[in-house]
């Protein structure tokens, strides 16, 4: 009886009629984290590609940081998923016997493609020369690690380095559609569920993509400020302003798309309209209107918009950027929450609601979710110690070299 205690507690909280199998939410906070984390990866990578492919040289200080951030989060992206499975030890089946009509089946391949072909290769080519130099300079365990990372290569002739650069460039070009694929695909996992009117929209992959870019850019912005502060270095304001400008533009697109989705729902007013209307004005009111729309979207939009034509002092701007990037990250987290949790709160009979209660401990509790968000930051700290972007050879920073 003890294992069903939480379900019995939820029974009186059911409003209206729900199918009897719908009392418990099948996808919990770990599945909120999954699109959130993959979104951060895709967004951070796209910011990096702005510098590499679109030659926005002012973003140079964040280029390697963005790549390492993307890698740190990508390494963890699958963990909440596997953690959530009823049978985690069978997770590998999705790779060896993928059922190709399933939107979820390809995730393993998309993930591996992105990890192995895009991020790891790109970072490797970017750092190969430095790793070889560092391996000659360091001693002990660090030397061994560098030796392993360099995969036995020792050639740092200008010709070899030029090839590295060329390869990095090509991989980034492949990487941009891959990043779009990675996160658009995550949106499709939800968007293709025709049984759920809250998820089932053709805009879902696009909305996921743009919200991913927004969150990834905000994350790199925040991490750049924090890391520079820890290193007691001067923050490059031109770089920060440019990031803020891109954040502003993409936030406009993201907000437009999400508004379009809602306006369309209201206007066509399908069978599910009443229940969804009740959902967003009731159970999702705080997380949707207050957290996602006002705090996560409108305040950042208004502030960043103002900064486009009015520039206060550097110090003020830094504080603003710190607050805005945090707000955006907070807002996008609740955007994922509203999709994943919100989509399961109403019954597919459209006659009622169940409720969602999350505990602090347990594999699906707050604490576990928090841990899955902290681990990528720990990985990033390690990567920044091992592969510090600021210690890379000077000429790397020379805009003319690429």
């Amino acid at each position: 009886m003890e294992e069903f205690k939480h379900l019995f507690e939820m029974l009186p909280k059911v409003q209206g009629y729900i199918y009897p199998n719908e009392v418990d939410l099948n996808w919990s906070i770990l599945i909120v984290l999954y699109p959130y984390i993959t979104g951060l990866v895709a967004g951070a990578f796209i910011l990096a590609s702005l510098e590499r492919v679109f030659k926005v040289k002012v973003l140079k200080p964040t280029y390697h940081l963005a790549l390492l951030t993307a890698l740190s989060f990508l390494l963890v992206a699958t963990m909440p998923l596997i953690n959530h499975l009823g049978k985690p030890m069978r997770a590998y089946e999705i790779m060896i016997t993928p059922h190709l009509t399933s939107a979820m089946a390809i995730f393993g391949f998309v993930y591996l493609w992105y990890l192995m072909v895009v991020l790891l290769l790109e970072i490797w080519f970017d750092y190969r020369k430095d790793v070889i130099i560092w391996s000659n300079q360091s001693t002990g365990i660090k030397k061994i690690i560098y030796k392993i990372i360099s995969l036995g290569t020792t050639d740092i002739s200008p010709k070899a380095v030029a090839l590295d650069n060329k390869m990095g460039y090509i991989i980034t070009i492949i990487g941009i559609p891959s990043a779009f694929l990675l996160h658009g695909y995550v949106g499709f996992i939800f968007g293709s569920i025709k049984a759920n009117p809250w998820w089932s929209t053709v805009l879902m992959p696009v909305i996921f993509l743009f919200s991913a870019m927004v969150s990834g850019i905000a994350l790199v912005m925040l991490i750049y400020m924090i890391v520079t502060r820890i290193r007691k270095m001067k923050i490059d304001m031109a770089c920060l302003d440019t990031i803020a400008k891109y954040l502003f533009y993409i936030l406009i697109l993201d907000f437009t798309l999400e508004s379009l989705d809602q306006i369309h729902r209201i206007y066509v007013s399908e069978e599910s309209f009443e229940i969804i209307n009740l959902l967003i004005s009731g159970k999702l009111y705080i997380t949707l209107f207050i957290f996602q729309v006002i705090m996560g979207t409108l305040i950042p939009l208004f502030t960043l918009g103002t900064l486009q034509f009015y520039k206060p002092a550097d110090k003020t701007r830094k504080t603003i950027y710190l607050i805005i990037s945090s707000l955006v990250l907070f807002g996008i987290f609740f955007m994922r929450w509203n999709v994943v949790i919100g989509g399961q709160l109403f019954s597919k009979s459209f006659y009622g609601f169940t409720s969602f209660k999350i505990s602090l401990i347990g594999t699906e509790g707050y604490l576990m979710a928090f841990i899955w968000l902290v681990i990528p930051l720990a990985i990033l700290s390690f990567l920044l110690w091992l592969l510090p972007p600021w210690k890379k050879q000077e000429e790397e920073y020379d805009p003319e070299s690429t």
């Binding site: 209206g16 009629y17 199998n21 719908e22 997770a91 999705i94 009509t101 025709k194 597919k348």
Partner: protein
């Protein structure tokens, strides 16, 4: 003495070996992908293609179907796990709709709306629709959910990874995660019974004959006759799931 070209022999042995190994590897590699090639189709001819008929006019809401299902299939008794349940619909005089299913109707029903306010009331037994284009089968990432040659949607519980995507994809709320087995669970149409020529438990235990099980290919079957004699409808037809559960007297309020 005849010269034997040992090399040639070795070469042909290697060739044959490689050929066999390659063939085996290719088969192994391609096997998982046959899901795309062999999407189950309605068999032509004599083979059975099972469907379900439910006559709402005959259902008295006794809950025998739901109860017998739980007993027959070892479904957890807690009121959160149902392969088969009954809903009570009450349309009030003011046009509002009240739906109830306390404990899935296992213990029968009482009418909570005062008689004077009731416009009409009826019971709707629910169970898996055994869709021929089932969304749950479509979304299973490992192919653990499949359709049997007779059109019964089943789960290989030794293969299911418990991702619950199928539960999200079912428009009818017919699936749940088994709390002990930690895999998805659903109505099997009592596959173990029908393969022996018996009726599924919920059909065998319906006291009013409101549930009709049969072969849609057999034009003489009770089910085909039922479909011919009544105007039947499936739930959520706009979902295009190819549902094979047909209701007589299905009211527009039922979802």
């Amino acid at each position: 003495m005849k010269l034997i070209n040992k090399n040639a022999n070795r070469r042909s042995f290697l060739k044959a070996g490689l050929f066999l190994a390659g063939g085996a590897a290719a088969t192994t590699l391609l096997k998982p992908y046959n899901a795309i090639a062999v999407v189950p189709e309605e068999p032509k001819g004599e083979k059975p293609w099972y469907g379900i008929g439910i006559d709402i006019d005959k259902c008295i809401g006794c809950g025998s179907c739901a109860k017998s299902c739980k007993i027959e299939n070892d479904v957890p008794m807690e009121p959160f796990f149902f392969r088969s349940w009954v809903e009570q619909y009450t349309i009030l005089n003011d046009g509002s709709v009240k739906v109830e299913s306390p404990n899935g109707g296992l213990d029968g029903f009482t009418q909570s709306v005062p008689d004077k306010d009731v416009f009409k009331s009826f019971f709707v037994p629910k169970m898996c629709n055994h869709c021929s284009k089932s969304p749950c089968t479509q979304v299973c990432p490992v192919g653990a959910t499949f359709e049997s040659p007779e059109g019964v949607v089943l789960i290989d519980e030794k293969y299911c990874i418990g991702c619950r995507y199928c539960i999200q994809a079912c428009p009818y709320g017919c699936r749940y995660l088994h709390p002990k087995k930690k895999v998805a669970d659903k109505c099997t149409l009592c596959y173990h019974r029908i393969k022996k020529g018996m009726q599924p438990a919920c059909f065998a235990n319906c006291p009013t004959g409101a549930r009709i099980f049969g072969d849609l290919h057999d034009k003489k079957s009770e089910l085909v006759r039922f479909l011919k004699d009544h105007t039947c409808m499936v739930l959520k037809p706009h979902m295009n799931t190819g549902a094979k559960l047909f209701y007589n007297s299905l009211s527009a309020e039922v979802r």
